[in-house]
């Protein structure tokens, strides 16, 4: 936190700050326009009629066509309500799984001493850079052999890894955070008779809330947006999550599907956008400091 609240260095430019601020602002606004254009165009297109999608390539529709949203919602045999519910369930359970399992592992790495700890920690750091695509084929085979792919509850292959702290990034983030919690608190609790579990329960857990919140937000957004694993492991239409369902639109090439497709694309990004607005500071600063103070 210390670095983020500090004013940035004004360096050598302060004396000329006024003469510089206008060109700088104009450049920045131009970049804002480039960054926001696709998003505004997406929202605009989601309200265009099929004719306008071909004729009117401007940002805004001439006549608002909110019907795209109802058309898209019911475009397939299974309603988008189901896809959204599936996505929400997978994302929220991932939040729980990552929060619990990564916190336990991080506490062991950050505070407890046990044999081979250095080795396991190095292995954990190694898995940080391990591309998920490398493991998808054998994981699919294993989960299929266990009867979990397309089974009674097809989300287990997506969720089991998340309950086993395989997202090393969050473990690392929490270890870094816990290093910043004063050890005197552990010692005080130990003098009061707490063992490793008591210290976890009464010292580390309550003080790790910021790291947990950061983990929860990123877990949710990444899982909500994730496509690759959900594409591989979900095979029945009624089990689809939103990203997988959205690709169904691509198959139907007819021009009339573009409006509904955009409408559902907009809706699918809404939860991420809400998170962004609500936690903007945390998201941006969470990367750099709050969760990671040494």
């Amino acid at each position: 936190m210390a670095t983020s609240t500090m004013p940035p260095p004004v360096a050598a430019g302060r004396r000329r700050a006024h003469s510089r601020s206008w060109p700088r602002l104009i450049v920045l606004l131009a970049i804002v326009a480039v960054v926001l254009y696709p998003l505004i165009w997406m929202i605009g297109t989601s309200f265009k009629s099929p004719q306008e999608i071909v004729n009117n390539i401007g940002l805004l529709p001439r006549t608002f066509t909110p019907g795209n949203y109802t058309d898209g919602w019911g475009n397939f045999d299974v309603s988008f309500a189901r896809f959204f519910a599936n996505s929400a369930m997978v994302s929220l359970l991932t939040v729980v799984g990552n929060g619990v399992s990564c916190l336990l592992a991080a506490y062991a790495f950050a505070r407890l001493r046990f044999r081979l700890r250095g080795l396991w920690f190095a292995v954990m750091i190694g898995t940080l850079l391990l591309p998920g695509h490398v493991l998808i084929v054998p994981q699919y085979i294993l989960f299929r052999t266990l009867g979990l792919v397309g089974g009674e509850w097809p989300y287990l292959p997506l969720l089991i890894p998340q309950f086993l702290a395989t997202e090393a990034f969050f473990v690392f983030l929490m270890v870094q955070f816990m290093r910043g919690i004063p050890r005197e608190l552990d010692e005080a609790a130990r003098i009061d008779g707490a063992n490793a579990f008591g210290i976890f329960r009464h010292v580390i857990l309550p003080l790790s809330r910021p790291a947990l919140v950061t983990t929860a937000i990123f877990s949710f957004i990444w899982t909500w947006n994730d496509f690759f694993r959900q594409l591989v492991f979900l095979s029945n239409l009624s089990d689809y999550t939103v990203p997988v369902a959205l690709t169904l639109f691509i198959d139907s090439t007819s021009q009339s599907a573009v409006g509904p497709m955009f409408a559902m694309a907009v809706l699918s990004l809404l939860p991420v956008f809400v998170f962004f607005v609500a936690f903007q500071r945390m998201l941006v600063e969470g990367i750099n400091t709050s969760g990671l103070k040494g």
Partner: protein, 327 residues
């Protein structure tokens, strides 16, 4: 995916990758703590074995077989190095996908980092509104990896898309870029560059840690703004540049979603968006050649490991650590 945002490289000096730098595990393990350690670590250990280690070994074994999901295990044939041989000598589309992936990473990653650094320099001043700009620029990094944004992108660069309407304003006749084998991958590069916000945030944090005195000293010595940038900012920022470069390169190699959406899962038009991971997916899950796909996955893993090693071994020639630590 998990690597789009990352542990903070800007906090020099605290970056020792050791669980507890102050008290290494050489001391006596307190009674009962060793057991507690493994109790707390057990979910992670089970995950390491079941989700990572065993699948890795299984995939290594499969890479020497002709396994597909349909044949029973008893009929799986050991084919030795045949999969690897086929990959290197008899599979033009594999080589093609390597080329597509390299081209994507070599062009998109430097441009993305340049954009990130440039905008970070523009924002590196204390004035009202910085937070707003920073947040707006970060937004694409949150949204850009999604299927929804890929759909938008494909339509934006299609014949009737927004990009062509912009071109027509300046009198240029556009074309359906996403259907043109010469341009489809470029549209995906633009999508990657559009998400410059995540590395920008890391650059901004790094810029804040450059001591003001260095600029003052440089100014006293008569260095202009450009010299200050080259001789102060770049060396002081080199650990962060290095970190972003490693991360974005590895991420760049793994681009999948946008290529899948653009080509409807085929890597087209004419294999122009056949990224390595997409090729792997098609081989394993469309063609069901899982033995061959496993071999492809192992080559990918080794390539990523080698590239990381190359980065770290060349890094010491240009990455400057101000606290005198040699990494």
């Amino acid at each position: 995916m998990a690597l789009t945002t990352a542990p903070d490289p800007t906090r020099r000096g605290t970056g020792s990758v050791r669980p507890d730098a102050t008290r290494r595990g050489t001391g006596r393990i307190r009674h009962g703590e060793g057991l507690a350690g493994y109790v707390f670590l057990s979910p992670w250990l089970i995950g390491l074995m079941g989700i990572t280690a065993i699948p890795m070994l299984l995939s290594l074994y499969l890479s020497f077989t002709n396994y597909d999901i349909l044949t029973p295990w008893s009929e799986v044939e050991w084919v030795g190095l045949a999969n690897y041989e086929r990959m290197f000598t008899n599979d033009p589309s594999w080589w093609h996908s390597v080329g597509v992936t390299l081209r994507f990473a070599l062009i998109a990653v430097p441009l993305k980092l340049a954009a990130a650094l440039g905008v970070a320099l523009l924002l590196n001043r204390a004035w009202r509104g910085v937070g707003l700009f920073r947040g707006l620029f970060y937004l694409p990094s949150l949204l850009g990896g999604s299927v929804a944004l890929a759909i938008v992108w494909v339509n934006m660069f299609n014949r009737e898309g927004a990009f062509n309407s912009f071109l027509s304003l300046v009198g240029i006749q556009g074309k359906p870029w996403v259907n043109d084998p010469d341009w489809a991958l470029e549209t995906l590069m633009v999508l990657a560059i559009w998400q410059f916000g995540a590395p920008m945030v890391i650059f901004l944090a790094g810029l804040k840690q450059v001591p003001t005195e260095l600029y003052e000293a440089a100014a006293v010595d008569g260095a202009g703004r450009f010299r200050q940038f080259v001789n102060v900012t770049l060396p002081m920022l080199s650990p962060v540049i290095f970190f972003n470069l490693v991360l974005e390169t590895i991420n760049g190699f793994q681009g999948f979603t946008a290529a899948f959406v653009l080509s409807n899962g085929t890597g087209g038009p004419v294999d122009s968006t056949l990224m390595y991971t997409l090729n792997l997916y098609i081989t394993g899950f469309t063609d069901l050649e899982m033995g061959y796909a496993s071999a492809m996955a192992w080559v990918f893993l080794i390539a990523i490991a080698l590239i990381t090693v190359v980065f770290f071994s060349t890094g010491r020639f240009w990455v400057h650590y101000s606290d005198g630590e040699e990494h």
